[in-house]
Symmetry: C2
């Protein structure tokens, strides 16, 4: 299946795994809504930096806090 993992590039320059198996992703005014194939949902303070679909990677940047 074609879900992806979402990673957060933090302001300190690190890459953290935010969520595995992301299916739905929806940017909004304050952050990004993520929903996984496992039913997990999250809204994080971040914006989309890049998606690499063949690599199953979603890269976000921001502070990554929950909203």
């Amino acid at each position: 299946m074609c879900e992806a993992n979402a990673y957060l590039n933090t302001v300190e320059g690190k890459e953290e795994l935010l969520m595995e198996g992301v299916n739905i992703l929806r940017p909004d005014k304050d952050g990004v809504y993520l929903r996984s194939i496992f039913g997990e949902q999250k809204v994080v303070k971040a914006r989309i930096k890049e998606m690499q679909l063949l690599e199953h990677r979603i890269i976000l940047e921001g502070d990554g806090g929950s909203i």
Copy 2:
């Protein structure tokens, strides 16, 4: 493979196929950069509305003009 098709929701409420086989997607200040597995590249005046990865769908909204 896990590339997706990018669709544009136009201001007239229509959905247009913008690019097939998208691998890389990168939002920037003025629009969204798209690159397909076929080597096609495009920057369109739009923003990401939603991604549905299991459905291989990327939905953008905006006027969709080239930059």
